[in-house]
Assembly symmetry: C3
Homo-oligomer: 265 residues x 3
């Protein structure tokens, strides 16, 4: 059912560590610091260039670009358009994270427009993915649906837009429209720290910067984050110490440990 | 002098955990991540929707709304007006945190306008509360007055605007104009981490979403945060580890422990 | 080669602790929280006033001002101009941190304009400093040059603009155009947490608020941060726990310990 194996995830992480890809993030005010720290910990180089004066030019030189709709404003939404145009023009891989699409009208419209531009990877929770095919959407930023329930929508979106779709949840589901990969390392504490999903989107952009297969980029990033989540949870007293330990683990995890611990199906 | 007892605080916390209220935050760029993590830790669901295109509509479906003036911009100030209009229209409880009111002209004017719209709860430090009755105001974001000195101003504001007023400080003072409640669990380390007061405002919005009595919402949230502060301080080496432990404690504290440790008068 | 000694750094830190200077920060969305927490930990009082309606007036009452170009927007860039005008008018010391100058056109232009206004201290990495003399500039926010290579550019900028120039790196190099001071406490983990350099800029503004010699302010802040970095690294498992320990150490470090551990040349 899948040709992506644990060893491929290990190689993907090794590539990120070796090349330290420059990841441009147009993300939200809530998770900008966390996202930058996650990227640094895993071995990438973050750059939060999200104004319309610079975003387009920077997307031409970045290794990968993240577009995250968590807190859009007129100014940053304009920057997102510029960044997508620049990325498309230069062939820079880019990731769309349509936070709360379906729950709010303006960003749902923005998400639709950006999706039509063909992101390399679309990452969201089940409700967000379903909303982009015309589903009902979630309550705020949290999913009310399961990844399993969104898989058909994901396959449809993947085929329609030529994008990999990564649905985050207890079991992550990822597809390029043909292949389907499940990553079963999700820990409940991952939902008790804000921005874990947002940071995953940024990690996928970093992995996509150094890998030819966008599905492997999404799977490798998801595997790295969730395996580190498992390890961090083992030592954490609560969500505060979990977030700290997660950053530590992202820096400490070796490719061999990743291959050993990831559960793919 | 008060009809709010420790057991009421325990029940309030239990209600938040049970219902996981959706709290819309229009807050500042400094504390957005911290506020979201505090809300998640205590059991609420944060959503930082602070653009004028979406804030009004979201305030109609949120459980509670926080308006925090820490870093206002033209765009987000417009969103605050929309959110207050939406909350008022839908009967959504909302909290006003007039950060640095009195010290800066523009936000003092905004705070006055928002206060006139009748927030469910006004939360600030003593200088901010006094400034809203025409007092002198503090130095920047820190209070130069004690909660005791601001109590008369708080009672006046409560009566005039039909709002609960929560004055944060070494001993928190809270009033609905008739009842006065003091919470005596404030630890000095709470002032060495940015955004603790801002996060309290968000917690009050979450508690108000699931409780009928806004004074109990403010007291319950204050009790929860400050009791967790006491517990976190016991194990902390400094402000960094204190902030981490505070998030852990917010997730770990049981209603029974809260009732046991809170000091009300 | 230098008349600044370890004991001067100790005195500088003691002055900050005694006077708790009010530091206005116009900084980026990535590091705003971290910067505020660093300032609180070291003993200063942060206030992130970065809108054009208030920034100019606040710069007249602040002890020091930080202008950081990490994520400029039209609105905050206008606020920066106001803040510089207010600071200049009132004689408030101010620090310019030209994040990614040279790599991006708009901010390079802004940085040039602000630099011409004569900041008290210019703080950046080697690539940023070199870019401001017409050098090539770095890749995103990371330096591709060494502080040693940028020293001539720094001395030139210091003389031309009457500013102290602080070049961050493995060995920090600081100059007022006449004196050159090197601080050799830089730890590699400092580059694995976002915003350490940005927070240093804010610390320099705080030190400059209470000291007459801007070079001592820059050296004292750099010494304090990097010595705390050494101490934090000794106990850290990775970048997450390092950042937490760094905040703790900033609050725990005594002036005597600073004098004992700083390596000046």
């Amino acid at each position: 059912m899948t040709d992506i194996r644990p060893g491929d995830c290990a190689d993907a992480l090794a590539q990120v560590r070796e090349h330290s890809p420059l990841v441009q993030c147009l993300t939200n005010i809530v998770v900008a610091q966390w996202t930058a720290n996650v990227l640094l910990a895993v071995g990438a180089a973050p750059a939060m260039v999200d104004n319309p004066q610079e975003a387009g030019a920077f997307a031409r030189i970045a290794g990968g670009v993240l577009i995250n709709l968590g807190t859009p404003y007129a100014d940053t939404a304009a920057a997102m358009e510029q960044a997508v145009a620049g990325a498309t023009d230069a062939g820079t891989p880019w990731v769309l994270d349509p936070v709360a699409a379906g729950a709010l009208a303006w960003r749902t419209e923005i998400a639709g427009t950006l999706l039509a531009a063909g992101p390399t990877v679309l990452r969201g929770n089940a409700s967000e993915v379903m909303a982009l095919t015309g589903g009902a959407g979630g309550k705020g930023v949290e999913s009310v649906d399961t990844p399993e329930a969104a898989l058909d929508a994901a396959v449809e979106l993947a085929g329609r837009h030529g994008t990999v779709v990564a649905i985050s949840g207890p079991v992550d589901h990822l597809t390029d429209g043909t292949r389907v990969v499940r990553v079963s390392n999700g820990h409940p504490l991952l939902t008790k720290v804000t921005g874990v999903g947002c940071a995953l989107g940024a990690m996928i952009a970093g992995f996509a910067a150094v890998l030819d297969d966008p599905l492997l980029a999404a799977v490798g990033a998801t595997a790295t984050l969730t395996v580190c989540g498992d390890r961090a949870a083992a030592a954490a007293a609560g969500p505060g110490s979990f977030a700290v330990a997660l950053l530590d683990q992202l820096a400490l995890l070796t490719p061999a440990e990743l291959a050993d611990r990831v559960r793919l199906s």
